[in-house]
């Protein structure tokens, strides 16, 4: 009863704070929209081609054009840069167009086109198929032009425009593939990236900043007054914990709902997603309670909380995928709960994972939550009783 009274009063105060509501409701939606739009998913695979090769003879140029059907083509300065981009996950494949492609083809000899692929095996396989299809389409034209050249005693170069024109009007039989679970090691781009990472970021930050409410209640002498009633300090602490948890869950529900309805985000396996949202809300609750116990003034909680929250979010992979940062930073990042939460979302959204696949992440997050909640309860009870 006491805990519910405390929870109801605190929750009412949080929901009544219009400034806080801006950070809880509007800002997350805005950031999800901006990041989702800017870092949008281009569709298909990202194919890298060396700039020098692409600007070469006509057959090489037309091959690059054909590769565009597999996904957006990005030009790289040299092979080293292309390999780095591939390793960072900025590209799905690099097609090394042979320098003597045109000469070899015009001679009528065979050509092998090397393809560098990165990421998971399933991605490599899908990229190989897409590139093969583009090369095959290119080869159709070259073979048609060679056939016509032999029959008409003309050159392949003369017949190539006709072959290209005919290919355009010839009915095609094609295979349609959709990259649903690419198996890459980072979140999908677009809203599928921004929504879950912003959920992780904002639930934590707002909980930390919300510690100001507990500090203010302490300063107002309300806890002290409440303890003159027949209530226990632990009931007050439990009541505050309930209010923070409810608030964190409300914000999570808002972001999930907005992500689904406005931006079409799919949140993966339902039981696993619910478990992750609840565990992360507990982590946020622990952070908020700890903030309320540690800080001396509401201003400290409001000012320092977001700074800590943003720093943790950066380290934990909410701003950019941890796969693109050096190994040391990635290791340090996993000292924050954010990294584990983001990992779990990647598993759910990018690899179609389930509850068992994120069990380790959930266990670590539960550990973070228990640690922070336990410490906050001890500190807060000590403060209330002194």
């Amino acid at each position: 009863m006491t805990a519910l009274a405390v929870a109801a009063a605190s929750l009412r105060r949080m929901l009544r704070d219009r400034t806080a509501l801006f950070f809880v409701v509007l800002l997350p939606v805005l950031v999800i929209a901006i990041i989702g739009t800017v870092v949008h998913n281009p569709g298909g695979f990202r194919i890298g081609v060396l700039a020098g090769q692409a600007a070469g003879p006509a057959l090489a140029t037309s091959l690059v054009d054909d590769l565009g059907a597999a996904g957006p083509v990005e030009f790289q300065t040299d092979e080293q840069a292309a390999r780095t981009a591939l390793r960072r996950g900025e590209l799905d494949a690099v097609v090394l167009v042979p320098v003597d492609l045109e000469a070899t083809l015009l001679r009528g000899d065979d050509v092998v086109i090397p393809v560098l692929a990165g990421g998971a095996e399933s991605t490599q396989s899908a990229v190989r198929s897409a590139v093969s299809a583009a090369v095959a389409r290119h080869a159709e034209r070259v073979q048609a032009a060679a056939f016509a050249a032999r029959r008409t005693n003309s050159s392949v170069a003369e017949q190539l425009p006709r072959a290209t024109a005919l290919q355009r009007v010839t009915p095609r039989i094609s295979v349609s593939t959709e990259n649903v679970a690419s198996g890459s090691d980072y979140l999908p781009l677009g809203f599928g990236y921004s929504a879950p990472t912003m959920l992780v970021l904002f639930v934590f930050i707002n909980a930390l900043a919300g510690g100001a409410t507990v500090v203010q209640t302490r300063q107002l002498g309300i806890y002290s007054r409440a303890l003159a009633a027949p209530v226990r300090a632990r009931d007050l602490v439990f009541g505050e914990t309930l209010s923070y948890l409810t608030f964190a869950l409300l914000q999570s529900a808002l972001i999930i709902g907005t992500g689904s309805l406005l931006f079409g985000v799919s949140w993966g396996n339902l039981p696993a997603a619910i478990a992750l949202v609840v565990t992360w809300a507990l982590v946020g609750t622990g952070a908020g309670m700890l903030s309320g116990a540690v800080f001396k003034t509401p201003d400290q909680a409001s000012a320092i909380g977001p700074v800590v929250g943003i720093a943790f979010a950066m380290l934990g992979g909410c701003m950019w995928p941890l796969e693109i940062v050096p190994e040391t930073v990635r290791t340090v990042g996993h000292a924050t709960p954010h990294a584990w939460a983001v990992d779990a979302w990647i598993t759910l959204l990018s690899r179609a994972g389930g509850l068992a696949d994120i069990a380790t992440d959930l266990a670590v997050l539960a550990g973070f939550a228990a640690g922070m909640l336990g410490l906050a309860a001890v500190l807060l009870r000590r403060r209330l009783s002194s």
Binding site: I222, L227, A229
Partner: protein, 326 residues
């Protein structure tokens, strides 16, 4: 804590006594905050703890309300011992702290409902009590307004109201008029007077002598953590005999004049404070010519003289050697 056997004889439990504080002691490190304090408050009685800031009033109150653990002593509220745990005795206490301990961003009604629920009130009973208390403190029309929009006086009244919701038998008010304008102060005091008249035991701390004189049936004078005297106003003043309190505002060698006054027959005390000389004298008016003559002899210019009948301020000065508001 002392056992019940150590309760002073005059504090033995009677059916009328709502609060018995017996031989309370509390230290914070080396500092003694409360030192062997004993007193009792009966139903319908308003008991004032009078003392300057830092005298130990708030610590005593926090011990009584179970917010601090006493190093020694015993507290009984309506016959039940109090402790820092969630003891049933706490239901008998209505605690009104010195600060405005209310949620500023909740309405008056929401605040009262919150505190009512802490005392186990709910449903219709809670709504009924909230309405009654809002009536009692004159805030029925503002029940749906947020506390942050209230004036200082209205906040003070609501602060008191939050202590009345569960109809306590003992109301404990810790300096409830600090920082309040005269009009609101008057309203607060009238309310407190009515609580006593309604049969509630009231423990009221203040460092305002006038409040203690006007409101309290009995007063305990506390200084440096010790209860140096207690009784009705009449009993306390009687300790001074036929003394008057003379206050001289003068320029010149005030120390010399105070010295000279101490030599005059009938003057018991002479102290220099803030450009004034404070004298405690038997039949003060009769001694005035001698005092003025002494001033003239040592070249001190007396600008004003005030002779006051003995009051609690004089009692405090007599007992502690310092003025109440120092």
């Amino acid at each position: 804590m002392h056992s019940v056997e150590t309760v002073p004889a005059h504090l033995e439990q009677t059916s009328a006594q709502v609060l018995i504080a017996s031989r309370l002691a509390k230290r914070f490190g080396d500092r003694v905050a409360v030192d062997d304090v004993s007193f009792a408050v009966a139903a319908g009685e308003t008991y004032g703890l009078l003392g300057p800031n830092g005298a130990g009033k708030t610590t005593t109150i926090r011990l009584i309300c179970g917010l601090l653990r006493a190093d020694a002593g015993q507290i009984l509220i309506a016959g039940q011992p109090i402790s820092t745990t969630a003891t049933p005795a706490k239901k008998s206490i209505g605690y009104v702290p010195q600060e405005i301990a209310l949620y500023p961003d909740l309405t008056a009604r929401e605040n009262l409902r919150f505190f009512g629920r802490l005392y186990g009130l709910h449903g219709k009973a809670l709504n009924h009590r909230v309405g009654k208390v809002l009536d009692l403190i004159g805030l029925s029309e503002r029940g749906r307004d947020r506390v942050e929009s209230f004036s200082g006086g209205m906040k003070r009244r609501l602060n008191i109201g939050a202590g009345l919701l569960h109809e306590p038998t003992l109301l404990v008010l810790d300096e409830p008029t600090v920082g309040v304008d005269p009009q609101s102060r008057h309203a607060v005091m009238e309310s407190v007077r009515s609580f006593g008249a309604a049969g509630m035991a009231v423990l009221y701390t203040t460092h305002y002598m006038e409040e203690a004189e006007r409101l309290c049936d009995r007063v305990g004078i506390i200084d440096h953590g010790r209860l140096v005297a207690e009784g009705t106003r009449r009993e306390l003043v009687a300790q001074l005999g036929e003394h008057d309190h003379i206050q001289l505002t003068a320029t010149g060698d005030l120390a010399a004049l105070a010295d000279r006054c101490r030599g005059l027959e009938g003057i018991d005390r002479a102290d220099v404070k803030d450009g004034q000389i404070q004298l405690l004298a038997t039949e003060g008016r009769r001694l005035l010519p001698a005092v003025l003559e002494a001033a003239e002899r040592i070249g001190t210019t007396v600008r004003s003289v005030e002779v006051a009948e003995p009051d609690l301020e004089a009692v405090f000065l007599h007992l502690t050697g310092t003025a109440l508001r120092e």
